[in-house]
């Protein structure tokens, strides 16, 4: 168990390093350094940056030094909580991101919960009543769910909402709560707005998980121990739920590690279409404006959050599967 945990932790650390390098790369991809862009932006807005200021900025970020030194400096700044300045907003990046990061987490977790709540019972049902009409229906819906890219699903939901209910169903808050400080009423408003993003975002993952659960359970159901439990006269629901479902859950749980990056990825695009106040639209705007410090930070944060989520799912897997807990 310790070795499993250590291996996972080491991998997580390497993943975070890889993500930070990629984010750094993205910050530095556009031609010219960020100070050039900053100066140009200031000039465009009627402000001006003196040569001295520009030189100071360059020195602060070490832009005159080799790339690896710059990278290390950047990491050092981030470790101290200094993410740089978002040019468009003239505010520290951390402040611009603010609540949006947690709302991203909230939307992703809601989608994950939806995925599980729906995929688990449907997967079990489809395996137990294999080839029934409902099984075919779920399989069909599942395939459609897999085949519609989630931005398209979001677009269609918006379209039908607008056309038939004459309501704009995007967003996470009513207008009056959007800028209000947190309160119970605002939280309730958030909960009320959550189902649509969660469903849109979780649809494809749900479809995949239903297929995984169904296939696993079908494999397990055919094994002799299930037959013997049935022969001994156990009630059918116990025969299924107590043993094969638990075994079938393991591969199901281990796929969270791959579901989470997928959902976080999707949340960016769905948020843009449904105009949710998460980091998605912010990242999009930052990329369009080539505000690379903001963009790089968001990419880094999303990556790190995903790594943490994956670690949690590994812990969960350890708790579910004694074989991992006891090995090594």
């Amino acid at each position: 168990m310790v070795s499993f945990m250590v291996r996972r932790l080491v991998l997580a650390v390497f993943t975070v390093i890889a993500i930070s390098m990629l984010s750094f790369l993205i910050i530095h991809l556009p031609p010219g350094d960020f100070v050039t862009t900053y100066v140009a932006n200031q000039a465009a807005n009627g402000g001006s940056v003196s040569e001295q200021e520009a030189a100071n900025l360059r020195a602060q970020y070490g832009l005159d030094q080799p790339v690896y030194v710059q990278y290390l400096k950047w990491v050092g700044l981030i470790a101290r909580g200094n993410f740089g300045v978002a040019m468009e907003y003239q505010l520290p990046v951390a402040q611009v991101i603010g609540d949006r990061l947690w709302l991203t987490v909230a939307v992703s977790v809601a989608a994950l919960i939806f995925t599980w709540l729906v995929a688990l019972p449907i997967g079990i049902y489809s395996a137990v009543r294999q080839n029934s009409i409902l099984d075919y229906l779920f399989t069909f819906i599942g395939f459609i769910g897999l085949a519609i890219p989630n931005f398209l699903l979001a677009l269609l939901v918006l379209y039908f909402g607008f056309k038939y209910f004459n309501a704009n169903i995007g967003g996470l808050f009513k207008p009056e709560f959007a800028d209000a400080p947190w309160s119970l009423a605002k939280f309730q408003d958030l909960l009320g707005h959550m189902p649509i993003p969660a469903i849109v975002l979780g649809m494809a993952a749900t479809a995949a998980q239903i297929r995984i659960m169904r296939a696993n359970l079908l494999d397990e159901k055919a094994k002799p121990y299930v037959v013997s439990a049935r022969v001994r006269g156990l009630p059918e629901y116990r025969v299924i739920l107590k043993y094969p479902v638990r075994v079938a859950l393991n591969p199901f749980a281990s796929t969270i590690g791959y579901t989470l990056p997928y959902i976080v990825s999707g949340s960016v695009i769905v948020s843009i279409v449904l105009s949710l106040p998460t980091v998605g639209p912010l990242l999009f705007k930052a990329l369009i404006a080539l505000d690379m410090f903001l963009a790089g930070t968001i990419i880094l944060m999303l990556g790190v959050l995903t790594v943490i989520g994956t670690l949690i799912s590994d812990l969960l897997l350890m708790w579910i599967d004694p074989r991992i807990r006891l090995e090594g």
Binding site: F14, P30, F143, L152, K163, S265, L287, T306
Partner: protein
């Protein structure tokens, strides 16, 4: 197939004689024959094969199938609804559309077009239209269907799928968009196939440190949320690049991340094959490693690779469409399904002109078809299993 149609191995137990006959046939059939029999049983995969072929026909003949220049815009004719094609006129087969007459809306002063049932615009086959090069080689101006007439007159209006906000014909644009979207998928998958086979192959064949490093890299790449990264990379593509360059950079970005699944499949195959006798024999004869990988190992699990490749295509199509939709992938004047759907991103516009959402249909159908085809191929790739 030169062989006479044999009985499918699944439906045999009718006659005693037939059983022995068919069994014998199964036992002597070459591997590809067994695969075909297995594949044929998967009806959805068969249907999907037909659809995929149809899609690639569109890719090859996009210019021929389009009947007007996809970039020719006319502000006067924006957002015209799709026209109904009437196949029969007076009980005779003679397809026509009703002519469109433009009037001013007395309230909004917007130009609106209404179909005039008295004007019949006959469709002609193989008419002359805008010039293009068939297969990029043969200059011609023939198209599959079309109507005569020039300028903004009722008799030159053919908008099978309506027009977009700049008055460009949706059908013609859809043909070109299909071409681009599917080509991006194909090229990307080819590059990631190469990367996947090379790295997965080395990883599985060499084992040891190489294997550990490649596996960790794959695990790391798979645990990173890819869309933000893709967006970042795509946004760094300079805005003044021409379509062809953007196209190739996009394919590179897509393949950079989609090779991992292929590498995983290839590695698994290598692990199970590398101690087979024929590999040892090749080693003893003194073949180089690359030769063993590409000449001996790859052909023996080619079918698995083809299946995995087919299953990798839908993901690329989804990402291309998503990025282009956001304006970070292909961008105008480039065309793709995502670029077309962009014009529907404003819900108010889409609600008034729902035909702007039509490109969603080929996107969904293509993804489904590739998925089913891949499933069928995967089942057929191992025809000896249950």
């Amino acid at each position: 197939m030169r062989v006479e149609e044999p009985v499918a191995p699944g439906s045999l137990d009718t006659e005693a004689v037939g059983v022995t006959d068919a069994e014998e046939r199964v036992s002597v059939a070459p591997q590809w024959q067994l695969m075909w029999w297995r594949f044929r049983k998967h009806k959805l995969a068969l249907l999907s094969t037909a659809l995929v072929l149809l899609f690639y026909l569109v890719v090859v003949f996009a210019d021929f199938l389009a009947y007007s220049d996809p970039h020719a815009s006319e502000a006067q004719r924006s957002l015209i609804a799709p026209q109904t094609v009437h196949l029969f006129d007076d009980g005779r087969f003679s397809p026509y559309v009703e002519g469109l007459v433009g009037t001013r809306d007395p309230l909004t002063f917007k130009r609106v077009y209404v179909a005039d049932p008295t004007i019949k615009v006959p469709l002609t086959f193989l008419p002359q239209g805008f010039e293009y090069k068939l297969f990029g080689l043969i200059p011609t101006d023939r198209h599959l269907i079309g109507v005569g007439g020039e300028g903004n007159t009722p008799d030159n209006s053919l908008f099978v799928l309506g027009t977009d906000d700049q008055g460009r014909d949706q059908w013609s644009r859809l043909m070109y968009a299909t071409q681009v979207s599917l080509l991006i998928g194909l090229v990307s998958v080819a590059i990631s196939l190469f990367l996947g086979v090379l790295l997965g192959g080395l990883s599985g064949y060499l084992g040891g440190l190489t294997d550990t490093v490649v596996q960790r890299v794959i695990e790391i790449l798979r645990s990173i949320p890819t869309i933000p990264l893709w967006m970042g990379l795509a946004a760094s593509v300079p805005k003044d690049w021409d379509i062809v360059r953007v196209f190739f950079v996009m394919t590179l970005i897509f393949s950079l991340f989609s090779w991992t699944e292929l590498a995983r499949v290839v590695r698994g195959r290598f692990l199970s094959l590398r101690h087979e006798d024929f590999v040892t024999a090749a080693e003893l004869v003194g073949c180089s490693r690359l030769r063993i990988i590409f000449r001996h190992l790859v052909p023996s699990f080619l079918s698995h690779i083809i299946a995995a490749t087919t299953l990798a295509l839908p993901a690329i199509i989804i990402f291309e469409t998503s990025l282009s939709f956001l304006g970070l992938g292909m961008r105008p004047p480039g065309l793709s399904w995502g670029v077309m759907l962009q014009s529907a991103s404003n819900v108010q516009t889409a609600a008034v002109s729902p035909w702007l959402l039509v490109p969603a249909i080929p996107v969904t159908v293509a993804i489904l078809a590739f998925n089913f085809l891949g499933d069928g191929l995967r089942d057929a790739a191992d025809p000896y299993g249950v």
